[in-house]
């Protein structure tokens, strides 16, 4: 990549994604302004280093937004501001607004505990707790004070069924440790664990990058199913994956002093066939990044 990359002007463009997405997904066009998440001028920096610059975009309910871009382009950092996981990183500061159903989650009055129950997260490396499968799924509900055995049983079963894992584990829910499962099963267990907290939004940070191709496809299938009921934001390095699963794609880029720019966001079909920006085209065709 040349040291002095030529950036198109304007660097940021707000693309209204509501109508084209619904059309692309082959559904009735939803009302414009049907927005689950909206970010307004979000900038994130770690002490001196800026990781995300002035990003504004919207996510429709029951859609999948894919964040793509080269390593270091700030897409994971951006993802983590939706459930305020950046709060845990010393020196990280977030400017701008992130609205969930119209409420700014950056507001100091917002309870992060409540927020994270509404916005669940699946990590890159499957990280089930070293507990039984049952206790892994029951973890969230138990922390909310749910101790009714029958309700927990029911919740564990429905969550595992939704995560397409029930049939594989139903016989030793309580005996088998979550860590004894295969990588792909562990990741589906982590998804079940999130579903059990009854979220609206699920964030996935490269959820399949540590998995084999078969497990990856199962996770992708699962995402398409979950999309019926949840809003999903996924970070991925795998462009085929973004093209296969997402409704909308946002392309972030990086260069010296330019890390974390949102170059383009739009319906996935359009981003991958007729991108507006040169940078996007170069990236998706493998010429850079």
């Amino acid at each position: 990549m040349p040291a002095t990359a030529v950036y198109p002007e304007p660097l940021l463009r707000r693309v209204e994604v509501a109508a084209p997405v619904a059309a692309a997904a082959g559904e009735a066009v939803t009302q414009t302004g049907d927005v689950k998440i909206a970010t307004e001028h979000v900038s994130i920096s770690y002490s001196e280093k800026v990781a995300v610059r002035d990003v504004s975009l919207t996510v429709q309910p029951r859609s999948i937004l894919a964040l793509i871009g080269p390593s270091g382009s700030g897409k994971s950092t951006f993802l983590r501001c939706f459930n305020r996981m950046n709060d845990l990183i010393p020196g990280a500061s977030v400017k701008g607004e992130v609205c969930l159903d119209g409420e700014n989650v950056m507001d100091p009055q917002v309870s992060v505990v409540e927020l994270r129950r509404r916005v669940g997260m699946v990590f890159q490396r499957p990280n089930p707790f070293p507990m039984s499968i049952y206790e892994n799924v029951a973890y969230g509900p138990r922390r909310r004070g749910q101790n009714d055995r029958r309700k927990l049983d029911e919740l564990v079963e429905t969550s595992l069924k939704r995560a397409a894992l029930w049939d594989e584990v139903k016989d030793d829910l309580r005996r088998k440790s979550g860590l004894a499962l295969s990588g792909g099963q562990q990741q589906r267990l982590c998804i079940a664990r999130v579903l059990a907290t009854d979220p609206d939004v699920i964030l996935m940070d490269e959820p399949a990058s540590a998995l084999d191709p078969v497990s990856t496809l199962r996770i992708e299938e699962l995402m398409r199913e979950l999309r019926e009921a949840y809003t999903i934001v996924i970070v991925t390095h795998n462009m085929q994956q973004a093209a296969r699963v997402s409704d909308v794609t946002a392309f972030f880029t990086m260069a010296e002093d330019r890390a974390g720019y949102l170059v383009e966001v739009g319906p996935t079909g359009q981003i991958f066939t007729r991108p507006t920006e040169r940078l996007t085209e170069d990236y998706i065709s493998g010429r850079f990044g």
Binding site: R116, R117, M121, F123, F129, E135, R174, R193, T197
Partner: protein
């Protein structure tokens, strides 16, 4: 791609030595030497521990019996070590009752809450320094503070508190290390599910740190069993009276339950017998006491690991 491989720029075309050629004799030798040296070091430690155990097992053969464990010391006959054995256990429980909860809470603070600043740096420095202060100095401090200035005299409580000075920093440090060793991923997973910080500590971090915490408890407890210098000046070194186990009067010097009585422990008793050198059965009693002390330490360590495993199972699968 062509069939004949062309050399990459900067790479020679010279034929490679046979895989069977012995060009690396020196490094193979170094490898063997290292293997033997490391093995020998490990064996040395094992043999050392083994020979201590064997020595005292042989020396104590015929001395340690139920009556040795259960009777009072006697001037003329072999007698027993019941009161000092009881005192060792009593002091252990009393000290651990303070050191374990406070040490674990301190460790949680240092690992999960404390910011990295000059104050916490000073706390860590103090923890390490106190642990390396000679124990006789800690005993002297306990003597001045509790025995003299507080007018408690030689008491079990003075000994336990002096031991706590000595042990609490160690327990806190080991607890902090055990908690820090829990991967950050586990905390993130719990917090991302909407658990509070305390719920995360209580249900994820502490259960995963239990093996490390148990190691801390074992090392701390080992010092209570073994410590003589701290206790000489604080809980006393007199020959204990006959304890009346039905006496629950905490002001009575013959109540074994009272923390306000002198309490000579097994280690102190060994020191005392060996340095006074009186009594017909002195050597047998010392050997027998040493064997009992070693057995207690080993039993405690095994017991603590067993309890640790049970706790982990209980806490991770409620």
């Amino acid at each position: 791609m062509t069939a004949t491989a062309r050399p990459a720029p900067g790479r020679s075309m010279a034929p490679r030595p046979s895989l069977r050629s012995k060009t690396s004799r020196g490094s193979i030798l170094a490898d063997r030497v290292a293997t033997v040296a490391l093995w020998a070091t490990g064996m040395f430690v094992l043999v050392l521990l083994g020979s201590i155990i064997v020595h005292f097992a042989v020396a104590a053969w015929g001395v340690v019996s139920p009556s040795f464990l259960l009777s009072d010391p006697s001037g003329e006959t072999l007698g027993g070590i019941m009161p000092v054995l009881w005192n060792s256990i009593y002091m252990l429980v009393l000290t651990m009752l303070i050191a374990v909860p406070v040490g674990i809470l301190g460790g949680i603070y240092m690992s999960e809450y404390a910011p990295d600043n000059a104050l916490t740096g000073a706390i860590r420095f103090a923890e390490e320094s106190i642990s390396s202060v000679p124990s006789i100095v800690v005993g002297l401090f306990g003597l001045i503070l509790f025995v003299d200035n507080a007018h408690w005299g030689f008491t079990a409580l003075a000994g336990a508190l002096a031991l706590t000075f000595f042990n609490l920093p160690l327990m806190t440090r080991l607890a902090e290390q055990a908690l820090r060793a829990v991967p950050q991923d586990e905390r993130s997973a719990s917090l991302a599910l909407g658990a509070t910080k305390w719920q995360t500590i209580r249900h994820v971090v502490v259960p995963l740190a239990i093996p490390g915490l148990i190691t801390g408890v074992i090392l701390t407890a080992g010092r209570v069993f073994g410590e003589a210098a701290v206790l000489l000046f604080t809980s006393g070194l007199g020959t204990p009276p006959h304890y009346n186990f039905t006496n629950f009067d905490l002001t009575s010097p013959v109540s074994p339950w009272s923390p306000f009585r002198p309490a000579t422990t097994l280690s102190v008793y060994i020191y005392k017998l060996n340095s006074e050198g009186l009594g017909a059965f002195k050597n047998q009693i010392v050997d027998g006491s040493a064997a009992v002390l070693i057995s207690m330490v080993l039993l405690f360590n095994l017991g603590a690991r067993f309890v640790g495993r049970l706790l982990t199972r209980r806490m991770t699968a409620s």
